[in-house]
């Protein structure tokens, strides 16, 4: 079994509008898969189909090596938090967890206490959920998704409504669960910076279409620091760079070269180019933010 979850042309159509259009995602055991997309990009619809809450118009998915109806039977091994946490407001956190435990047939002792401990809600006691803060409800939603020790947990915008400390706590919790229990996570968000701190793989979705799948390393490489050299002769400039022992560079267009090493040597590079009679039009150290990378990929800030 290569992938824990893979989708095959998964499509969801509402009337004439395709909310999710032929999406193929690939997730391995142990991945933390970040699904990035702006609001309305199709993240929730895609996750609902994978969670068994919505029926695909076209396509299917393979889960734990099982396809079609067999895959749906494996959904008992999948925990979900889709959109806002679904909780009974007049009950305590423990009661809400107890209900899920009963439904899933979980009889393990201390399951509820452990889950409350994991998400940092063990001190809530008899406090009713209606009196919880947004962040506490969100953490209870995560605890509900973890009932029954699932192999795959799908979290839709889990950091929504959380303050910076809450975001950090949730991030640490998910990271720990991934390491200690080898739980695979799919986490959707429209905040790429936050997702970048935890995800090992990324899927970028826009207007229902999966634009790109890439690993953390690939994403970082594309967003890494570099010297951007503007010159009137890129061919001669490359020769100079070679003579200087610089190997990690890339010619972008007729007058632009990106250099990925010796980032502090821009002065020396300018001098060597001048010695060979090559005019330097501009030289700057640049670092494309993850957000900028995403915006460029999805068609610019106008789309956000």
């Amino acid at each position: 079994m290569e992938y824990l979850l893979s989708t095959n042309g998964l499509t969801k159509q509402y009337g004439r509008h395709k909310a999710v259009n032929s999406v193929n995602i690939h997730i391995r055991q142990g991945d933390i898969y970040g699904l990035i997309g702006r609001n309305g990009a199709g993240k929730t619809t895609l996750l609902k189909m994978i969670s068994g809450l919505a029926t695909p118009t076209e396509g299917d998915f393979t889960l734990f090596g099982k396809k079609e109806k067999d895959a749906y039977r494996c959904l008992s091994r999948v925990g979900t938090l889709i959109e806002s946490p679904g909780v009974y407001p007049n009950m305590t956190a423990a009661d809400n967890l107890k209900i899920k435990c009963l439904a899933m047939g979980v009889r393990r002792k201390n399951e509820i206490e452990e889950l409350l401990e994991i998400v940092g809600l063990s001190s809530t006691g008899k406090k009713k959920v209606k009196n919880f803060s947004m962040g506490m409800k969100q953490r209870l939603g995560i605890a509900l998704a973890l009932v029954g020790n699932p192999d795959l947990v799908i979290l839709d915008e889990p950091i929504n409504g959380l303050d910076p400390q809450g975001i950090a706590e949730v991030r640490d919790t998910l990271f720990r669960l991934n390491r200690e229990r080898n739980i695979t996570f799919i986490i959707s968000s429209h905040i790429l910076e936050e997702l970048s701190k935890i995800a090992t793989h990324y899927g970028i979705i826009h207007d229902g279409v999966l634009l790109q799948e890439l690993t953390r390393e690939e994403l970082l490489a594309r967003c890494s620091e570099r010297i951007e050299l503007k010159t009137d002769d890129t061919r001669k400039s490359c020769t100079v760079l070679d003579e200087m022992g610089i190997r990690k560079y890339k010619v972008i267009d007729a007058d632009t070269i990106h250099i990925f090493e010796r980032l502090n040597d821009s002065g020396e590079i300018t001098m060597k180019l001048a010695e060979k009679g090559i005019r330097t039009m501009g030289i700057t150290v640049k670092n494309e933010a993850l957000e900028d990378y995403y915006l460029n990929l999805t068609g610019g800030a106008d789309n956000v």
């Binding site: 609902k48 969670s51 068994g52 809450l53 919505a54 029926t55 749906y72 039977r73 959904l75 008992s76 999948v78 979900t80 889709i82 959109e83 806002s84 946490p85 679904g86 909780v87 009974y88 407001p89 007049n90 009950m91 009661d95 809400n96 107890k98 209900i99 899920k100 009963l102 439904a103 899933m104 047939g105 509900l144 998704a145």
Partner: protein
């Protein structure tokens, strides 16, 4: 399936509305007996009123359900002024009024809509091999609650009657009382299933609750009359009365003294509504995306 029933029973007994409805059942039962007592006192004070009541009762029996009143009403037996009050008759009159069914409707609408309204259904629906099972588990929990409501109502009605009238309350056939309660239980289960179906269909407790209350209060009587006339015009030989085939009509007719024909029809109507509403509710929940 057993796990889901346990889940729904747990949430039902941890829900405030469950206990409020049970308390209301007690209150309503006491209120019914108090109202009946006032009625008996009025009849005792005014023999003419008692005479009218006697005539009205006879006319009602003759007219069966041809002319039905709007609202909830329980007609006291004029023979109760001085004679014995049979516990079965008392229970029959109170339960036929539809007052318990009114509470069943309110409870069913609140209970059925809770998981959809707060989104809890999203936590479990995807992990089940068949989402339709959630309908069965809810219905199983409702069956327990409705059983409790009917038993509590019956017990409080009889106990209140004994407090008001002492030794005059007599116990006739226990099997007749059990048959009455059994048939009314089935009809109320049919009502609960119908409300569950309407709640799932419309995703709204307001709609299903209003529809249920309208049915019990007989607000739909004009509609039923139109249907009766329409059927009469199609086939004048057929003495069709839609009241005989709806839940509220049968709740009103299936008393302790009702004929075997009426009782059998009530059982069939209750069972049909229960089965069809459950099947349709299961199909909708299974086919429709969870939002």
């Amino acid at each position: 399936m057993f796990n889901l029933i346990k889940m729904d029973l747990y949430r039902m007994f941890h829900s405030v509305s469950t206990w409020v409805i049970l308390l209301l059942t007690v209150g309503v039962a006491v209120f019914c007996i108090a109202a009946t007592n006032i009625d008996i006192e009025l009849m005792a004070e005014d023999p003419q009123y008692a005479e009218e009541m006697l005539d009205e009762t006879e006319e009602e029996e003759a007219a069966a359900s041809q002319e039905l009143q709007l609202g909830i009403s329980a007609e006291s037996d004029p023979h109760w002024i001085y004679g014995d009050i049979d516990a079965g008759d008392l229970l029959s009159i109170e339960i036929k009024s539809g007052i318990v069914t009114l509470l069943v409707v309110i409870f069913a609408a609140i209970f059925a809509n809770a998981a959809q309204k707060n989104g809890y259904i999203k936590n479990v629906a995807g992990q089940l091999p068949d989402r339709g099972m959630l309908v069965l588990s809810q219905l199983a929990a409702m069956a327990v609650q409705i059983l409790l409501m009917i038993l509590i109502f019956a017990a409080v009605v009889v106990a209140s009657g004994m407090i008001f009238w002492g030794d005059r309350v007599s116990f006739g056939s226990v099997s007749d009382i059990l048959r009455l309660l059994g048939i009314q239980y089935l009809l109320n289960m049919g009502f609960a299933a119908l409300i569950l179906f309407l709640t799932i269909l419309t995703k709204s407790s307001a709609f299903s609750m209003t529809a249920g209350i309208f049915m019990i209060l007989r607000v739909l009587t004009p509609v039923y009359s139109i249907i009766n006339r329409a059927v009469g015009q199609i086939s004048s030989s057929w003495k069709f009365d839609i009241n005989s085939y709806v839940l509220e009509g049968n709740i009103n007719m299936a008393g302790i003294d009702a004929s075997a024909e009426i009782l059998i029809r009530a059982v069939v109507v209750g069972a049909v509504f229960l089965i069809l509403s459950t099947v349709f509710a299961m199909l909708i929940l299974k086919k429709r995306d969870v939002r």
